[in-house]
């Protein structure tokens, strides 16, 4: 077996991804105060600006940082050119900010932001593809990385076509392409990546053993078919493909949820730490979103689909990412700063590097915030929504503080 740590990137390369991600989390949370929840279904420019800022500069930024470290672990080969990660984060950050400004008030700069993001994502895909090429024997997780990257590449192309259309450079049917773009990037890349990576990370942190992977394997195939179905819908102009895609995605998510439940039941490490609590809230959000999503299919309503999307982004993905930050950041800092001292002097355990009280506080603030803000969407009440956002704002500040604390941890 290859040795993953030989190829581990230096922490100074990965740290900016997490710091920028946490800063953008704070910024985008405060920007939620500018939303009018009663008119949000009209997809206003500030909503588009927010979604891109949040998904690209928080979700994707943190995922890319984590992938810099996880890809060698999962693929058991070194990066093709890990130094390329030094240019991905500034380009992704600058491009996203330009896109957000473009969506919000200056449409003409949108293509410039879009192209900058395109370059950042292309470099990431280029590096990852050539790293995958070094793999001799494929397994399920490697396949998930490959599929996720193909969806990201196609989603990127849809996005740039839409950006050109939005800026008036070309004429395209933007609403028709929007669903495909969202699904390819959000479900196709982020969703598939989470499915694949969680099979490595959950059993590792929970010490789960002797379980079948059948459910998640089926989930991956079904989810991929769902994404393909939705991506083909605007190209072939067959609307039923959209509905088929949604149904397949819900089935896949349900199977994935059940797989996580199996891993949870098989765990031998029962520790209610911040990682465990964050993941439990994350998966409860996924389950609730699935119920709301199925309700939408039965009785379509804008507030149901918006609250489903909000729970998936703000609850499921955010808690999953933040929970993993409390594992990944201490590990990287420990590896860089303390592992050379093992056997020579007393070194801290990874758990010692987490500010427990602060981490718990952010968990409760963010949990309460998500519950109240979701109720605000369901009741179409700005007052309730802003109350929830107040909790989320405070919670996000604690996340940022904790990230900085862990990065600066000395002993």
């Amino acid at each position: 077996m290859a040795v993953s740590t030989d190829f581990a990137p230096p922490f100074k390369l990965i740290a900016p991804y997490f710091i920028i991600g946490a800063v953008i989390l704070v910024l985008s949370t405060f920007l939620l105060f500018t939303f009018d929840i009663t008119t949000i279904q009209s997809v206003e420019p500030n909503l588009l600006a927010w979604v891109h800022l949040f998904l690209l500069s928080f979700v994707m930024m943190v995922i890319f940082g984590a992938m810099a470290q996880l890809i060698p672990v999962v693929l058991e080969v070194g990066h093709f050119a890990v130094d390329l990660y030094y240019v991905i984060y500034p380009l992704l950050f600058i491009g996203t900010v330009l896109m957000a400004i473009g969506f919000h008030s200056v449409p003409i700069i949108l293509p410039f932001g879009g192209v900058t993001v395109l370059i950042a994502l292309s470099i990431f895909l280029f590096e990852t593809s050539l790293t995958i090429k070094k793999v001799e024997k494929y397994n399920f997780v490697i396949l998930s990385v490959l599929i996720a990257n193909i969806f990201l590449a196609i989603g990127m192309i849809f996005g740039i076509i839409m950006a050109l259309g939005y800026a008036g450079v070309i004429i395209v049917d933007i609403p028709a392409l929007l669903h495909a773009h969202i699904f390819l990037v959000f479900v196709g890349y982020v969703g598939v990546t989470i499915m694949g990576m969680s099979l490595i990370l959950l059993p590792m942190f929970w010490l789960s053993h002797s379980f079948s992977w059948d459910y998640v394997k089926s989930a991956l195939v079904i989810l991929a078919l769902g994404v393909i179905s939705i991506a083909l819908s605007p190209i072939l102009n067959i609307l039923i493909l959209d509905t088929i895609g949604y149904i397949l995605s819900i089935i896949a998510s349900t199977l994935y949820f059940y797989q996580v439940y199996i891993i949870y039941k098989k765990r031998v490490r029962i520790e209610n730490d911040i990682y465990f609590k964050s993941l439990i809230f994350s998966y409860i959000s996924l389950l609730t979103a699935l119920i709301l999503g199925m309700s939408y299919l039965v009785a379509p309503s804008e507030k149901l689909i918006i609250s489903t999307g909000w729970l998936l982004i703000g609850g499921y993905i955010s808690f999953l990412i933040v929970g993993h930050l409390y594992k990944i950041v201490p590990f990287l800092v420990w590896y860089e700063r303390f592992s050379p001292l093992v056997g020579k002097e007393k070194v801290p355990m990874l758990a010692d590097m987490i500010p427990q009280k602060s981490a718990n506080l952010q968990f409760w603030l963010n949990s309460i915030g998500i519950i109240i803000s979701t109720l605000g969407i369901l009741f179409e009440s700005n007052e309730i929504f802003y109350s929830g956002v107040s909790f989320l704002s405070m919670g996000s500040l604690f996340v940022l503080k904790d990230i900085i604390y862990m990065i600066r941890f000395k002993s």
Partner: protein
């Protein structure tokens, strides 16, 4: 020559920084031997194949043997995945602290 028990005791100075237990009480050390040339071979596994500290832990085991047993001339680690590790291989104390048993 050193005994298997002495080697296990030397390796027990190595802790997993994630779970906080030493490798011996975790049940990760399967076997150990020492030949006439004072070469020690430790047969061990890890709790997961995806362990990001993989190589480092192997290196710590070698260093611990050489550090704790000065008469040993060479230390090597044979990393195996069969039998696959599970919590039943850990000591009762570890099982109790993990809370899963």
């Amino acid at each position: 020559m050193v005994t298997k028990e002495q080697i296990f005791e030397a390796v027990s100075t190595v802790n997993d920084p994630e779970v906080g237990f030493n490798l011996v009480e975790m049940g990760l050390i399967y076997d150990a031997s020492c030949d006439e040339d004072m070469k020690v071979v430790v047969t061990m596994t890890l709790s997961t194949k995806a362990c990001p500290l993989h190589q480092m832990i192997v290196q710590w085991v070698k260093e611990a043997v050489l550090r704790e047993l000065p008469s040993v001339m060479e230390a090597d680690v044979e990393l195996v995945w069969e039998p696959e590790w599970n919590v039943s291989m850990a000591t009762d104390e570890v099982k109790a602290k993990l809370g899963g048993m």
